[in-house]
């Protein structure tokens, strides 16, 4: 899936306009189709309330859903305003052991 296609899919799932931040383009373009699907499935679970959000310490009006790939190399944070819409995705590829 191309990056733009992926982003459209995310917005479709979350039914909101999402701001894609950080390294989303670079990270998504490196993911295999399977891994992209894992991320999309995770986003669906966030939307359904299966995945649990965490409060953001310094931004009280927001909460965040944290994604970590099984190999711990890909991380994503989906933020949502409390009682409001999903709004932003931050992503990064980690080299840390």
């Amino acid at each position: 899936m191309q990056v733009e296609e992926f982003k459209t899919e995310v917005e479709k799932i979350l039914e909101a306009e999402i701001k894609f931040d950080g390294h989303v383009n670079a990270v998504v373009s490196c993911l295999t189709e399977d891994k992209q699907k894992n991320v999309l499935d995770w986003i669906k679970e966030c939307k359904l309330g299966i995945i649990r959000p965490e409060p953001c310490k310094n931004y009280r009006e927001f909460m965040s859903f944290i994604y970590k790939s099984n190999d711990n190399k890909i991380r994503g944070i989906l933020t949502k305003e409390k009682k409001c819409l999903f709004c932003r995705i931050i992503s990064r590829q980690s080299q840390i052991l």
Partner: protein
């Protein structure tokens, strides 16, 4: 020329300047070495002089000392299994040849534990690269900034290295905020039985030690503590105790209390929106409430 940059320490060199100038190098040559170690640009005549005289002299000094590519620095030798140390020295030599002029470190369970998954080889490189496995070896690239991380401070306590590791100043940002974020991450990892939970727990333990100004654990101590906590029936209970202990022992903890109170109210609000996860949130809030009660 590159070898010189990697093997000399400018601070030390300046300290011993009186002993080496003019016996080994002229004042001008010493100046060129300083330029080199400070990454300053050479003019073409300086470049010539450097390679014609300084590099040659250095090469001769190394040859005289028999140190070329054979330097081994061992940290916490008493904790290293003797047979493994012999093997590790050989591997260090091999990898120093493979990654020429690079700082190579061997660390991890291979050195101190009977059982080990792979042999961790760390290569300090200018840029981060993907790690990879090569047979029984796990090659990890660390960018030079990693020297100033908590991870490296712990790593260098029990390792063998082809360069002397100087005392390191930790520049990584670590405070109660990062510690509380790790607590949240850890709670999540444990709850969903995430495979990478050990890594999160390692970071959590290291940050806790750093914040309370205790000695950072080396890789053997860290491994023992992580395995110990994860083996218990309720690891989160131990982690909750650690959170309380750490926050209460952090200097100027009073400053953190308002943000902990904020976090607690934030949890309350989330419970209203996600009542299905109420039990989890309440469990995570428990030690934070205790901290507020004990510290207020």
């Amino acid at each position: 020329m590159r070898r010189l940059k990697y093997t000399l320490n400018l601070k030390y060199l300046v300290k011993i300047k009186a002993e080496i100038v003019p016996v080994l190098f002229t004042e001008h040559q010493f100046h060129l070495i300083e330029l080199k170690l400070n990454n300053k640009h050479f003019t073409s005549s300086e470049k010539n002089e450097f390679s014609r005289t300084i590099s040659r002299k250095m090469k001769a000094i190394y040859a005289l000392m028999g140190r070329q590519e054979k330097e081994v620095y061992i940290y916490s030798q008493q904790k290293i299994i003797p047979e493994r140390l012999q093997l590790a020295k050989q591997y260090l030599h091999d990898f120093s040849r493979k990654f020429k002029n690079k700082h190579i470190i061997i660390s991890g369970s291979f050195l101190h534990n009977k059982e080990f998954k792979d042999i961790d080889i760390f290569v300090i490189s200018k840029y981060e690269k993907d790690d990879y496995n090569e047979g029984k070896f796990h090659i990890n690239y660390l960018a030079e900034e990693a020297y100033h991380s908590l991870f490296f401070s712990s790593l260098q306590k029990l390792c063998i290295s082809n360069r002397k590791i100087e005392e390191i100043e930790i520049k990584e940002k670590i405070n109660l905020d990062t510690f509380l974020s790790l607590y949240q991450e850890l709670g999540n990892d444990l709850d969903r039985k995430f495979v990478g939970v050990e890594k999160t727990l390692r970071e959590f333990i290291m940050q806790g030690a750093y914040l309370t100004k205790r000695n950072l654990p080396d890789s053997a101590e860290l491994r023992r503590e992580v395995k110990g906590i994860l083996k218990t029936k309720k690891p989160l209970e131990l982690i909750k105790n650690k959170i309380i202990e750490t926050i209460l022992l952090v200097p100027r903890k009073e400053k953190a209390l308002p943000s902990i109170k904020e976090l607690l109210s934030s949890y309350q609000e989330i419970i209203k929106e996600y009542p299905q996860h109420e039990n989890y949130y309440k469990e995570m809030m428990e030690p934070l409430r205790e901290v507020v009660a004990l510290a207020s």
